[in-house]
């Protein structure tokens, strides 16, 4: 560790830390564009200049490593003047189209110009323009406006160092250089939208999100990607219960600063719930019913649990699965299966630049396993259903694609089926009772990643209708069947019990979940790569 003084504050940082990160530790933000903690240092935007005692020239905070006893000023007459000048240079050719720019609200040029810039410009000449690249689809998800580009090359470095697809490059040189792909071909890779995440200005924006919402009107909820077992940390941007986007949230151990396009664009699926109230079959149709009626009907069907088969889901949180196990396995003695499957490979690079790969499309298969639930692949699920004779309880209609097949629905059509779902699928249409499930945004829970880390997804909104998160539906059922413990009114309460009961989760607390980049479960060795 070395000790440095930044603006009079002394901080201890590991040797090799750059001035910019050291300042961060002291709570001081040094403005920067080209620097990104996940990318190679290039020192080219020149906005992070600081004054270091004993150095005749200003130094870039990103490319200067701390030395013991260094005395750094991030604000001084020289620094402020120079920074103002660099911002003026950057704004000289930047179109001031902020009102119609989709980056507004999260634009570092705007923010730093406000914080550190001049209140006027000396520029009266024509600004640089790239007429062919002012509003151009760079790829299926990315819109390019080269006029706004500040040439920080973060997007290029992302494709070189993180995605390793090497598909973006700077062409030409000097004042007229621009970002492009080989021969202008579409910019397309499994992580393509991260290029827009790293873009500090509105030069690259995500097509799916453009002009759908002003970011300062969005609520941000920290969550975990539901798209696969890797468990990338995300922030859900939403407003009035409507989800507008997923963006990656930093977690060095799992996803670094990145997420894949597949996961990112699942955001839309969180909207548009079709099942807003409990439904009970009456003849050919499903009719809305109050929750108590639906639960009474459910109690009648399940009876003492004899012959009941329960299909749980690796999409459910540890808490929901814990209650499912306690109720169905331990209390009622029913058979429970968590379907598993092999999907397309997803991959992400963590903050240490190691790849994490997964072909498990569910976020909590490991959680289910560690809780002691049986998992089974497609054929096991098929057998489980076909050989069933009694009631079938489906805790999540999206637990496995097989549940959407008409064939399976035919096989169990004469048995009473209870399904929890947000949207209709063949199995809900054939069910005796359908209970409305809250969306991922509306559900708080913890999930165990493929690398054995327990992570918490927060709830961002309450359902506006009668839908409930699965843990809550299971808690209601638990009370219905007189299960010991509870009543469970909060996921935290369930998690605390779970952590006390299940060895793998021993010692994990909500506080740790809030402060650590996912808490590793015991007995589990993280299998990175």
């Amino acid at each position: 560790m070395v000790s440095v003084t930044i603006d009079g504050h002394e901080v201890q940082v590991p040797e090799g830390t750059n001035v910019l990160e050291a300042a961060k530790k002291a709570g001081i933000t040094i403005p920067h564009y080209c620097y990104h903690p996940g990318l190679r240092v290039v020192g080219q935007c020149r906005v992070c200049l600081v004054e270091i005692e004993g150095m005749p020239k200003l130094a870039t905070a990103c490319s200067t490593q701390v030395r013991d006893g260094m005395n750094i000023l991030t604000h001084s007459e020289r620094v402020d003047e120079a920074r103002g000048a660099v911002l003026e240079f950057l704004l000289a050719n930047h179109p001031l189209d902020c009102p119609v720019c989709d980056q507004a609200g999260e634009c570092y040029l705007q923010d730093y110009a406000f914080d550190f810039g001049l209140d006027t410009t000396h520029m009266v000449d024509e600004k640089r323009r790239y007429p062919e690249r002012e509003r151009r689809m760079l790829g299926p998800h990315i819109v390019q406006n080269q006029n706004r580009c500040i040439h920080c090359t973060r997007c290029i470095r992302f494709t070189q160092e993180i995605s390793e697809t090497h598909d973006l490059t700077m062409k030409a040189r000097g004042n007229h250089q621009y970002i492009d792909t080989f021969n202008g071909e579409p910019y397309e890779n499994p992580w393509s939208a991260c290029a827009a995440d790293v873009c500090p200005v509105g030069a690259l924006t995500v097509k799916e999100f453009r002009f759908r919402a002003r970011v300062w009107r969005l609520d941000d909820t920290p969550s975990v990607c539901p798209g696969c077992s890797i468990g990338c940390n995300i922030t859900i941007g939403h407003r009035n219960g409507i989800v507008y986007r997923f963006v990656p949230r930093e977690n060095a151990e799992i996803n670094g600063w990145w997420m894949c396009d597949y996961g990112r664009f699942l955001s839309e699926q969180l909207n548009g719930r079709e099942i807003e109230k409990p439904l009970i079959r009456s003849g050919d149709r499903l009719a809305a019913a109050p929750w108590p009626d639906a639960l009474n009907e459910l109690a009648k069907i399940i009876g003492d649990g004899n012959g009941v088969r329960v299909i749980a889901s690796a999409n459910l949180s540890n808490e929901a699965l814990y209650l499912a196990k306690k109720l169905f396995v331990e209390k009622l003695g029913a058979e429970v299966l968590v379907p598993s499957e092999t999907g397309p490979e997803r991959a992400i690079k963590n903050g240490h630049r190691d790849w994490i790969r997964s072909r498990d499309p569910h976020p909590n298969t490991d959680g289910a396993r560690l809780l002691g639930l049986n998992t089974g692949d497609t054929s096991a699920l098929q057998d489980f259903l076909i050989t069933s004779a009694g009631p079938v309880v489906i805790l999540d209609a999206t637990a496995h694609p097989l549940l959407a097949s008409e064939e399976i629905v035919q096989a169990i059509k004469n048995q009473p089926v209870i399904a929890i779902a947000g949207k209709h699928t063949p199995v809900t249409r054939a069910a005796r009772i359908v209970l409305p499930a809250a969306s991922w945004l509306e559900t708080e829970g913890t999930y165990t990643s493929s690398t054995g880390r327990v992570q918490r997804a927060e709830r961002g909104a309450h359902p506006k209708d009668e839908a409930k998160p699965s843990w809550e539906i299971l808690a209601l059922m638990a009370r219905l069947f007189g299960m010991e413990g509870g009543p469970f009114t909060r996921p935290q309460q369930i998690f605390e019990e779970l952590a006390a009961e299940v060895p793998a989760f021993a010692g994990i607390t909500y506080r740790r979940l809030a402060n650590e980049p996912g808490v590793p479960v015991l007995e589990e060795v993280a299998h990175v790569g």
Partner: protein, 175 residues
């Protein structure tokens, strides 16, 4: 010097360069170049030169073939190619007439040459005559300031030029 000693360039037609494979002769040359450097990437500039000498210009098909051969991404290769002004990603005329427009040559009358050439060819900088014979380029300092004004035609320098000597050279250039 007033004797034209420059040979014309030949430009491979675009349809020939859509997809490119290196023949044995090119392969041998590339292998020789690779021996000079500890990394394959380092051979990029020499290989670009080699290809431009062979085909006259560097189509995207050529860049793709180079990228494949040197284990680089095509985007990277194109980024490098367009950084340097002497690589041509479009066909040029048979003669690249490159007039130095920087200070010392200008002090010695290069602007007169520029005007004359634009008039003689009927084209502006960056353009090619309709017959495909000449491409006129304004270039920056050629590093022969003591012998200005300087015009580089293809690879050859012609120095201490006047309108008359330049005309004579252009007239003498072979078909």
């Amino acid at each position: 010097m007033s004797v034209a000693h420059t040979q014309p360039l030949t430009m491979a037609p675009p349809e020939l360069l859509r997809e490119v494979h290196f023949d044995d002769e090119m392969e041998t040359k590339i292998s020789e170049l690779l021996k000079r450097y500890p990394t394959k990437q380092a051979a990029l500039l020499p290989v670009l030169w080699l290809c431009q000498e062979k085909w006259g210009w560097l189509s995207s098909g050529v860049l793709k073939a180079i990228a494949d051969r040197l284990d680089l991404s095509p985007a990277f290769v194109e980024g490098v190619t367009t950084f340097y002004t002497m690589y041509h990603t479009e066909p040029t005329g048979k003669y690249l007439v490159q007039v130095c427009t920087t200070l010392s040559c200008q002090l010695c009358g290069a602007s007169g040459l520029v005007e004359h050439l634009k008039e003689r060819f009927g084209i502006d900088f960056g353009e090619t005559t309709p017959d495909g014979r000449f491409t006129l380029l304004g270039v920056q300092c050629l590093g022969a300031c003591g012998e200005g004004p300087v015009v580089q035609i293809n690879n050859d320098y012609y120095t201490r030029l006047t309108v008359e000597t330049l005309d004579q050279i252009l007239d003498e250039l072979p078909e």
